[in-house]
């Protein structure tokens, strides 16, 4: 019996393969869940799909559309013609993507039975018409000068566009081809230019992800690590740390329908009481940059001349006094956040900083569904969240237009300003140069009204072992994998 048990144990322990040292292993917090660009909603799936599928256009660091598969011209203010480039890459089966594929992709995105999370952003499309093999016309319901910047969904083959099978068996024309799903829940890709294989391997625990890199079982990590681990990894020989500015915008939101927080003096007191420099230095290890608006100043629609609410405890106390609060009448506010340990740590630092000016902040943390449900329903005074992957100025309507109060959008603070509404509507109809000025004016007004306390943009950080040429994309994309080389550094 014991002998049998020992044999069983031995067989089960050794019944695995030796590692393949030629595969570039990218350890990610979660594996991509669906490899269909029309259906992907989570960040890892979207970034992986961008490797597998080419798009009509991509957005550069300023958020401007750049041709990837197609160029475009406006035939009217509600009519765009997209012309496929002769140099576009073929699908993995060798067939060149044509206008039928483009039309089928975008028609399926508009079909509610597909259930695409991108359908909402494309709702202005009236029809998609094939002109010839290389040209597709998009006719809109109403004029939209920045329409082309929405055409960033990967193109799928027309014959596969009707079903949902692509999610498990993708066929694209991107720089990487799909090899298969791995038994560890990850996915194996092959670079089409030279055959280099890349495995996206899920390792949920950040400590284990770090140990995997130290041991040489993984070659690349990106983001999702506690800041103290970055400090440790930066000082470890054999590892390289690449940091790039990010677009993830963190903020403190207010409920403007709340009797206390409807006072701008109270909001200004909070803004001046927060020492962002200290938080960035000590909690982020310097790996974040102060933010003033949801769009970065470098964005074509960004506002570059917003004045920061600087850390000034005395000024914060003055604002509080003007609002009717002092030591005899202290201000108590509630602050909701998720159960993420790092977000909780930030919440407790904010609590301490606000206490220094006489604001008693009650911090409550909730499981994500409850927390987010409360925020959407307006059951909060203050909360903190971040906007991830913001690339277009549509965010300004979505977050600040009075029609966007949930469930119509994400104006969670219930901000209502006729002036801002009018500016957003004018910007949406204006040519790009004028739109940039109008969007900057929107951000100036939102900043002045302190709808949010803007906090910081979190940097994108990649740590690599035995790799050359990997730099994280500005929005966290993995596109640099197309040019990354393995240098075969030995593990410890």
């Amino acid at each position: 019996m014991v002998r049998l048990a020992v044999i069983c144990l031995y067989l089960s322990l050794v019944a695995c393969k030796p590692p393949d040292t030629d595969i570039l292993v990218f350890a990610v917090a979660n594996a991509p869940s669906v490899l269909d660009p029309r259906l992907a909603g989570d960040a890892v799936s979207e970034r992986t799909n961008a490797l597998l599928y080419d798009r009509l256009v991509t957005l550069d660091e300023q958020g401007r559309a750049q041709p990837q598969m197609a160029t475009w011209r406006a035939l009217g203010n509600d009519h765009y013609r997209l012309s496929l480039l002769p140099s576009r890459a073929p699908f993995w089966n060798g067939r060149l993507p044509d206008a039928q594929d483009v039309a089928a992709t975008y028609r399926s995105l508009l079909d509610p039975t597909l259930g695409s999370p991108h359908g909402g952003a494309l709702a202005n499309i009236r029809t998609v018409a094939v002109v010839n093999d290389g040209d597709v016309d998009f006719l809109l319901k109403k004029p939209d000068p920045s329409f082309v910047s929405r055409l960033t969904v990967g193109i799928v083959p027309a014959q596969a566009a009707t079903g949902r099978d692509l999610g498990r068996h993708p066929i694209g024309s991107g720089p990487f081809a799909f090899v298969g799903w791995r038994d560890d829940g990850g996915v194996l890709l092959r670079r089409r230019s030279d055959g280099q294989q890349v495995a996206m391997v899920p390792v949920a625990d950040p400590t284990m992800r770090t140990l995997k890199l130290l041991r040489g079982e993984a070659h690349l990590l990106q983001n999702d690590l506690p800041s103290e681990l970055y400090g440790y990894l930066a000082g470890t020989s054999g590892l390289t740390l690449e940091e790039g500015p990010g677009t993830t915008f963190a903020y403190i939101g207010f409920n403007l329908d709340d009797a206390v927080l409807s006072s701008r003096d109270v909001r200004a007191a909070i803004a001046h009481a927060i020492d962002r420099d200290a938080i960035i230095r000590y909690l982020f290890g310097g790996r974040a940059h102060k933010a003033e608006s949801v769009l970065r100043p470098q964005h074509w629609a960004g506002a570059s001349d917003l004045l920061a609410y600087r850390y000034d405890p005395q000024r914060a106390r003055d604002h509080l006094r003007r609002a009717g609060y002092d030591e005899q009448h202290p201000l108590t506010l509630s602050y909701k956040t998720s159960t993420d340990p790092f977000r909780l740590r930030i919440a407790h630092v904010l609590q301490s900083q606000l206490a220094a000016v006489g604001i008693d902040l009650k911090v409550s943390s909730y499981e994500w569904g409850t927390f987010f449900g409360d925020i959407k329903a307006g059951r909060f005074q203050m909360y903190s969240l971040a906007w991830v992957g913001v690339n277009t100025p549509d965010i300004l309507r979505y977050a600040f237009h009075s029609e966007s109060v949930p469930p119509g959008g994400a104006n969670r603070g219930r901000y209502r300003s006729g002036e801002v509404d009018a500016l957003i509507e004018r910007a949406e109809r204006a040519d790009p140069a004028q739109a940039a000025q109008l969007y900057a004016a929107v951000q100036q007004r939102v900043h002045d009204d302190l709808v949010y306390v803007p906090l910081w943009y979190e940097s994108n950080i990649a740590v690599a072992r035995g790799l050359e040429g990997y730099v994280p994309g500005h929005d966290g994309n993995y596109r640099a994998l197309a040019n990354t080389r393995m240098t075969h550094v030995q593990s410890n």
Binding site: S33, P202, D205
Partner: protein, 307 residues
């Protein structure tokens, strides 16, 4: 025996009905909207309604409850909202890894706990007993989320003997099996020891010794079979827990089993997967416990007679 089996089957069905109804209702009541999971926040109202209808969420609760049971009777646990696969396929894909880990940990429990419990009982109050008791205390006290990384630091990073995590490389099962098996072995060791000591004063053992049987023969033929009954009950509970997926161990070691599937589904708010996996876990628990009850009854005629 047949009457007992039929009665157990009816009990099992009642428990499963209760668990499945509870799971169904809890998922209806918890905050969050499955339509948000599929379409995101920015979807148009018309698209949201269409998706709500497609998912059957616009139907009255009793109708949804009935449909849930009809589907369940056909082995249909629905489709994942995030992975776009049938939930039964996902469970089928993840089950082998969980079974592999459970088997290794269970064998480890048997190999450690049985001899250690016997040694501790036979040398009661002496140093082997103290050693076994200390092992049991340490094993029970160390949480898996701490023991796992410690073992990885020692055996993977410093010594380089085993992989850090995953299930594809040689030796990748060793550390998860030890992490999972150690605390269970500790509990079973204590149970084995106390059970052996409890029957030590029984008359049948005195009779056996008076007949002139050696201590080894007394232990093998009389003490162990009688002491095994409570141990089998504990082992049954532990095996149920193992098959249900050792959630923390699977997550720490990126082991692609049922436990990590459940954690991913909760994080992604993939309601059908959560529902399906919880049901599967409940079923595993109930079946393994019924199996251990049956085994105990087969070993002990007194239990059969009481039934």
């Amino acid at each position: 025996m047949t009457v007992r089996l039929i009665s157990q089957l009816i009990d099992t069905l009642i428990v499963l009905f209760g668990v499945s109804t509870l799971v169904f209702l809890l998922l209806v009541l918890i905050p969050g909207d499955p339509v948000d999971v599929v379409l995101g926040e920015s979807a148009q109202a018309a698209d949201r309604e269409a998706m709500r209808a497609a998912l059957g969420l616009d139907r009255p609760l009793p109708e949804r409850w009935l449909k849930f049971y009809v589907d369940l009777a056909h082995g249909d646990l629905g489709d994942s909202l995030v992975r776009l696969q049938p939930v039964t396929d996902l469970i089928r894909q993840r089950l082998p890894a969980t079974l592999q880990l459970a088997a290794a940990a269970f064998v480890l429990v048997l190999l450690i706990a049985m001899p250690l419990g016997i040694i501790a009982a036979r040398h009661r109050g002496r140093w082997p007993d103290s050693l076994a008791q200390t092992f049991a205390l340490v094993g029970v006290s160390i949480p898996n989320f701490w023991l796992g990384p410690l073992l990885v630091l020692l055996f993977s990073v410093y010594l380089g003997w085993t992989p850090v995590s995953g299930n594809l490389e040689s030796g990748s099962l060793v550390l998860p099996a030890i992490t999972l098996g150690l605390s269970m072995a500790a509990i079973t060791t204590r149970m084995m020891r106390s059970s052996l000591l409890e029957i030590e004063s029984q008359p049948f053992l005195r009779t056996a010794r008076c007949k002139g049987l050696s201590e080894g023969a007394v232990m093998l033929r009389h003490s162990l079979p009688n002491a095994m009954l409570p141990v089998i009950t504990v082992l049954g509970l532990q095996l149920g827990g193992l098959l249900a997926g050792a959630v923390i161990t699977e997550v720490v070691f990126s082991w692609p089993g049922i436990g990590s599937l459940l954690v991913d589904a909760i994080r992604q708010r993939d309601y059908p997967v959560v529902q399906g996996v919880v049901l599967f876990i409940a079923l595993s628990y109930v079946l393994v416990n019924r199996l251990s009850d049956t085994l105990a009854a087969w070993l002990d005629p007194r239990i059969r007679e009481r039934a």
